[in-house]
Subunit: 415 residues, 2 copies
């Protein structure tokens, strides 16, 4: 399980990694192509995921008041079908957000065209877009993409490659484990890079499984997993307009549908935790301009909400992000972020360690060796451990450093 060790997210007991991402589970095919939206014609910008049958589907979307048009279409379709979906169409490099009535019509037409090509009800088609806001979706290119894209049982990696924008690498994983005596698989992929904060976006994530899962249980479990994964990632504190997490379960494994309050339910939830946390962490590791991954674990919080806000506050502090970039153990910036977070604690009891070196105890500096602290800050993984000594709750958040690369990416992208 060398990859699992590298990832830092422990695999659930009895599970092992498999290849293929979203097409690792049986009964899913995917593919990608270049339809002409990205300027680099050697890259893919159009992707299709297709299940052999309509799937039990759970979803979470951005909570932005300016949600993009495809988000609205997904929500309408899921409401109309009782949360079932069979296909996902994604374009990158154009967010189809804030394009007025035409934007909504374009998102609907994308689903219609895909449904016609695939011979399925258009309401079973989910649509996603990611990229620049406020540019009309080039429907001629979308139509071209729908016409030429092909899907195959090993198309998961191609799908992952077509949905990314400023990401430097694809992000996918899949695991195999047992449920009800059957072998089941759970695969997922995501994209991230910039505009990454609370309810995620321009973040997209697609998860597939061949397990049979009770719809209500899938919905509740996905919501919980997203709270502990994507909603605990920060690149820059900007929540976006397009964030979408979709989880499709086709039941091909033949297990009895997984329900809550059962050993199988716990097992499936652990698997979904693994996939979502692995992918969330990959988003942080590949944040725009990032050179270092930051993991912040807060212990001893008075409440779950306090643990989350304290952990997130550290990942979201530009000053601490800069210190991480510069390799400086400037714990004062962590402390300031915690102090401003709104979490309840006593300054005099605060404890902060980085990569195992305790820098702060009883709210002030320990007699740590500055040379050791400097050395430790050269690691590519910076693990911040905080103990608020205010209770028994804890939370983990992921982030990255803030570098010249982020500024370059976001000041010169349009030239």
């Amino acid at each position: 399980m060398s990859d699992a060790v590298t990832s830092g997210i422990p695999l659930p007991a009895g599970a092992h990694l498999v290849a293929g991402g979203v097409t690792a589970p049986r009964g899913f095919r995917a593919g990608a192509t270049y339809c002409g939206i990205k300027t680099d014609a050697t890259a893919h910008d159009f992707a299709l995921l297709l299940a052999e049958v309509p799937c039990v589907t759970a979803a979470t979307f951005t909570t932005s008041r300016t949600a993009a048009h495809p988000v609205q279409v997904c929500q309408e379709h899921l409401a109309a079908t009782g949360h079932r979906a069979q296909a996902v169409v994604v374009n990158s490099s154009n967010a189809n957000c804030s394009n007025g009535p035409q934007g909504l019509a374009d998102a609907r037409r994308t689903a219609d065209l895909a449904g016609a090509k695939l011979g399925i009800d258009p309401q079973l088609v989910m649509v996603s877009s990611t990229g620049i806001i406020g540019r009309p979706l080039p429907m001629d290119r979308i139509e071209h993409g729908i016409a030429i894209v092909e899907v195959s049982p090993d198309g998961g990696e191609a799908f992952s490659g077509a949905i990314i924008t400023t990401d430097t690498r694809t992000k996918l994983t899949a695991i195999e484990f047992e449920l009800d005596g059957k072998t089941v698989r759970l695969g997922g992929t995501t994209k991230g890079a910039g505009m990454i904060y609370p309810n995620m976006a321009t973040m997209l994530c697609y998860i597939t499984t061949d397990a049979a899962v009770d719809p209500e249980f899938l919905r509740d479990t996905l919501r919980g997993c997203v709270a502990d994964s994507f909603n605990m990632v920060c690149v820059d504190g900007d929540m976006s307009t397009n964030d979408t997490v979709l989880c499709l379960a086709n039941g091909f494994a033949g297990n009895a549908p997984v329900r809550g309050g059962t050993p199988d339910g716990a097992c499936f939830a652990a698997a979904l935790d693994y996939v979502t946390q692995y992918l969330a962490r990959e988003i942080a590791r590949d944040g725009e301009g990032a050179t270092r991954l930051m993991t912040v674990v807060v212990h001893g919080a008075a409440s779950d909400a306090d643990a989350r806000r304290a952990a997130r506050a550290v990942t979201a502090s530009p000053l601490w992000q800069c210190a991480v970039a510069g390799g400086d153990a400037n714990w004062g910036r962590i402390l300031a972020a915690l102090g401003a977070s709104g979490a309840d604690f006593e300054h005099e009891r605060l404890e902060i360690s980085i990569n195992g070196l305790r820098l702060v105890a009883d709210g002030h500096a320990t007699a740590y060796d500055p040379a050791a602290a400097k050395q430790m800050m050269q690691e590519t993984g910076i693990d911040v451990a905080v103990d608020l000594h205010a209770g028994a709750c804890e939370a983990t958040a992921w982030g990255c450093d803030l570098t010249h690369g982020y500024i370059d990416e976001n000041t010169t992208y349009f030239r």
Copy 2:
């Protein structure tokens, strides 16, 4: 009033600018020196402000759970004296925060030493520190500073120069106006640069007036003014541990004490609004690495809170800050920030203009000229006007762009 025009904050009717900052009002003296905390021995790092008599004093402080030791001492002293103060001692380059019991003792001893030198009750001494967190305050240097610093009636500018850290320039203003048939003056100074967000800090601000002011009215008015000024500034979204705004009124103008609900009260409040908003805006204009000042005015909000959070969200968006740095009218980033702000509005009614050019109406792009938009984004002042069309409330916030300069300032400062 050429300077008033430059500042962009309108002077109150009947007021005019005068020189001197915090020593412009009668009965205040100030001075500064180098005591040895800054590495640059040609700079000042120690400042003293002295009133001839104990003053009616109002104050606001950081709401951080990790407030610095001098903040605690100020709060204790104000409680003990019934909100009166006569002197302010400030050191820059060391925040005296998170130094444990020794830090608190050092802050108290600073007040004691200053009181002894000045021959006043130490509880009438306010102490402030700004700089790096977690380094013991070098008391030998502080003692040296107290011993050698001298004050004079024209020391306001020197005071302003000694309290700054990464600021590129001093920030001070003073105005003269009439109250109760008497000529009164109100002067202020501040420092800012980094770690600038909600309840301000490592932001310090000192305001003096020779007006006689009712204590309760002064407290309420200062609180309102800070809400509309310093609490509407963002450089990087990091709230700090040391923020302090102090307003000292010595009554030397001989007016009847200003009270609420009177024409004089309104006049004084307008003057204090001017000084606090002018200084707050200067903090944004001189943010770390800033090359452009951003002013965001939100109209049509459903509530005052919504107007504030919408305006602040735009100033706090790193992506939009990068677009401002790059001179790109990427309004999608403004829209995303508004959508994520939590303010209530309909996407379809949103209107956004920059420097008078309307880019978004009815929630989507107008037929604006891209060349004109690009040209307009080359200005050093970027005025964003948003209409949420959701009500009648409005708010103004100030911010700056995000550049390589910010990264340099905060990744290499310790080398």
